[in-house]
């Protein structure tokens, strides 16, 4: 059995997200991506959002955990490119994100079923 590989991720609460993102922006970081994954935590479905930033080819990761259907604040006011990721997460996972700079209101990804990535 191979060793378990871990990456450096800073786990934050939802309230800390915007302030940490703003300080990263001021330090000159660039938003690489926002990724959402659905994980099972002792029988309860939890959505983990990973925010990846980059500066001089080094990655800086932030992770927040939320329950399905929870609301989180948008970071698109700080990083202009965040709106595509946030719209994607809204359309595929059904996370409602408050205050996206360009909000397509669920018309970005057109799929047969709503929030397909949360289905089992």
């Amino acid at each position: 059995m191979a060793m378990e590989k871990r990456i450096e991720i800073f786990i934050l609460t939802v309230d800390e997200l915007v302030s940490r993102t703003r300080s990263l922006h001021d330090e000159g970081y660039r938003l690489v991506q926002i990724c959402c994954s659905k994980v099972d935590e002792s029988g309860k479905a939890v959505l983990e959002l990973d925010y990846t930033f980059d500066k001089h080819y080094n990655l800086y990761n932030i992770r927040i955990s939320i329950e399905e259907g929870a609301e989180i604040p948008s970071i698109s006011e700080i990083f202009g490119s965040a709106f595509v990721y946030e719209n994607e997460i809204h359309d595929l996972y059904g996370v409602s994100i408050q205050g996206i700079s360009i909000d397509y209101r669920g018309n970005f990804y057109k799929t047969a079923m709503p929030h397909p990535f949360t289905q089992d």
Partner: protein, 359 residues
């Protein structure tokens, strides 16, 4: 100020072989906004990890996109290798580099053709696609496939290239350089091409950084960023300088890709001259456990893979952030303020790959 009109663009459009839908908001002939909506090519292949074993999934990863197919396979393999801490043989790393650069050449030549078609020079389209065929011949000779190579696997590569073939390859690419001079000469020096490209769809350095542009689009705006600097595969040992231009318009993007063609040929020549002997793959045992981010430089820019595995044969979560996806905000930004007749041009100069966006 005229009244606003909304014109739908796509999904079936003569200029794009792929289905992209944009609602263009126009004031007279000027674009004031563009609203993309995607989902025509969405397959949901990130969810396929729960149905295919991790070693099998390489085939699916290669089919995220047929143009950068080798790079997608490479990125997925590298991510899994990183988690499992597999030492890939030296020779395999060099072979991967060669194939990656070959697919960059074929992708850029293809883009030149499509761009020429978009601004109305059909014989230039034909010329660049003819040159592209000679690259595809090399790819077919070495890997067996034309667009989907199937050459990469976890732990190495599937086939070796003989020294004679490598030598031939270098000679052919050297010859191709002469033909490419003619092609890029038209793109960069012709007056009518310049008229269609210069000053169109300008993306300034600040905007490019703010909107998170990557790849040739970013480098055309004067930012020196190239993920090959991370030194994956054999790039650590090859010397190269990222190509940058300062104008940030359609012409600068053309120039960046033109110079990258020569850079790729040079990188292949370097890799061939330094090629070590030995095995091309290692045995892979067990299953991955853990998570990792992996970044590569594709023809269209930086791509990021996220793999999370729980120690079974099936990976838990696989995510790709493709370069075109992160270039959408820049594309919308470039479209605003340009003429309706320049829309195909501007869209093509970001080199959109729709099946990459939607996965």
């Amino acid at each position: 100020m005229g009244k606003q009109t909304i014109i739908p663009f796509g999904p079936q459009h003569p200029v794009l072989p792929e289905p992209l839908h944009l609602d263009l908001v126009l004031e007279d002939e000027r674009i004031v906004d563009a609203i993309p909506s995607i989902g025509y090519v969405h397959r949901g292949l990130e969810l396929l990890v729960s149905k295919k074993e991790y070693a099998e999934y390489v085939y699916v990863a290669e089919r995220i996109c047929g143009i950068c197919s080798f790079m997608h396979g490479l990125g997925y393999c590298q991510a899994v290798e990183e988690i499992m801490e597999i030492q890939v043989p030296e020779r395999a790393l060099f072979l991967r580099t060669i194939w990656a650069e070959l697919s960059r050449i074929h992708s850029h030549l293809m883009w030149f053709g499509l761009a020429a078609d978009a601004f109305g020079l059909e014989n230039l389209f034909m010329l660049s696609w003819r040159l592209r065929e000679s690259v595809l011949d090399i790819i077919e000779e070495t890997s067996g496939g034309r667009v989907i190579f199937g050459a990469c696997k976890i732990g190495g590569v599937r086939r070796d290239i003989s020294p004679e073939t490598l030598r031939d390859m270098c000679q052919k690419l050297e010859k191709l350089k002469g033909h490419m001079d003619r092609l890029t000469g038209v793109f960069l020096n012709d007056r009518s091409v310049g008229y269609r490209l210069k000053g169109i769809g300008v993306l300034t350095r600040e905007d490019a950084q703010r909107l998170g542009a990557v790849g040739p689009l970013l480098r055309a705006s004067g930012v020196d960023m190239d993920m090959r600097r991370l030194g994956y595969a054999a790039y650590e040992r090859l010397s190269f300088e990222p190509v940058t231009e300062n104008d940030g318009d359609c012409y600068a993007r053309c120039a960046v890709r033109a110079r990258e063609l020569y850079q790729s040929i040079d990188l292949i020549a370097q890799a061939v001259s330094m090629m070590p002997d030995g095995e091309v793959d290692t045995k892979v045992l067990g299953a991955p456990k853990g998570e990792c981010f992996m970044r590569l430089e594709q023809p269209r820019g930086e791509v990021l893979y996220y793999v999370r595995a729980d120690g079974t044969r099936y990976i838990e979560r696989f995510r790709v952030r493709t370069p075109t996806f992160t270039n959408i905000p820049s594309m919308i930004h470039c479209l605003k303020g340009c003429d309706f007749s320049d829309v195909p041009n501007v869209i093509l100069t970001i080199d959109p790959c729709i099946s990459c966006i939607e996965r």
